[in-house]
Symmetry: C2
Subunit: 182 residues, 2 copies
């Protein structure tokens, strides 16, 4: 695949907002010419599928201003700089939902925005749950709900779960519950 | 879900790069306080799952500078302003892969970046394919390959297909080929 790669010639931060940072790289493409590539610099994130003893999953309803909708999502959060994503996952699960998990399993890593962000999200299964206290960040508003995995697949089929990380988590869980993937 | 929503108080474009635009909105949150939300303004995109008469799907290998990797993806492209996503899908399929499709079906719509972009991607099945000519954009380099749907699911399980739109398309195709979804 080497022949498709681009060589970075220079890197420049062109925007720093309250939350977002944009980098602009000058690259040399396979045709030898120089192009510009712009992308969001992101620290990465962790998402978890918390499974209750009754088989239901813990999810959140959260308003997302970028798409101006309340979304049904698996809990997730941004990594602190250099933080292992499992640490992020444990912290965010507790903060957002008030649950602790004793058993964790990394399922896979995904790239949500390959066109314009370096974000990577690590997807975990979180099992053997116990209660602690929900501690939302300032400016964070969400509601915790329980959903049966079968119901979640129906909602996806109906187009009611459009968040990609959540859809991918649900499909992985579906494969695992069928015994096709482990 | 009204009680989770935020009210937009003002909107300001805070960055305009070569490709990316960032908007900063002042919002009033459910606690009555004012917060800032930043996000990429995106025209939306279309992705297609092109199915060959032999049952294989048409995919592309493309270097993505934001994640500095060659990715295995379904063909996709950005909508022109106000363009119907089916028009985008037809154009991008032809340009990227050199295929025309006579039969199209909208599967679903997804939001890849609810934290910081208003992007929506419409996912299509593209069937009854015939050949035309590949016409890549300036600065676009990709290779077209054929993949068997079963092999694609194995690659996903192995963590080798991390692009979210492609993974979701593969999972939908898997459901359809099993006769579980139509």
């Amino acid at each position: 695949m080497k022949h498709l790669e681009e060589k970075t010639l220079s890197t420049q931060q062109v925007f720093k907002g309250r939350y977002l940072k944009v980098e602009q790289d000058e690259v040399q493409a396979p045709d030898g010419k120089v192009y510009y590539r712009e992308y969001i610099l992101h620290p990465g994130a962790a998402m978890m599928i918390p499974i209750l003893p009754n088989g239901n999953v813990v999810m959140v309803h959260q308003y997302r201003h970028a798409v101006k909708q309340v979304m049904l999502e698996f809990p997730a959060g941004k990594r602190d700089r250099g933080e292992d994503s499992l640490i992020t996952a444990k912290r965010e699960l507790a903060e957002e939902t008030g649950y602790l998990a004793n058993e964790w399993k990394l399922l896979t890593e995904i790239h949500p925005v390959i066109g314009y962000s370096n974000e990577q999200i690590d997807l975990y299964l979180a099992m053997d749950l116990s209660r602690t206290e929900q501690r939302l960040d300032q400016g964070e508003f969400l509601e915790v709900i329980e959903v049966a995995p079968k119901e979640l697949m129906t909602l996806i089929q109906q187009g009611k779960v459009t968040d990609v990380k959540t859809q991918i988590g649900a499909f992985w869980l579906d494969k695992i519950l069928r015994g096709e993937w482990n």
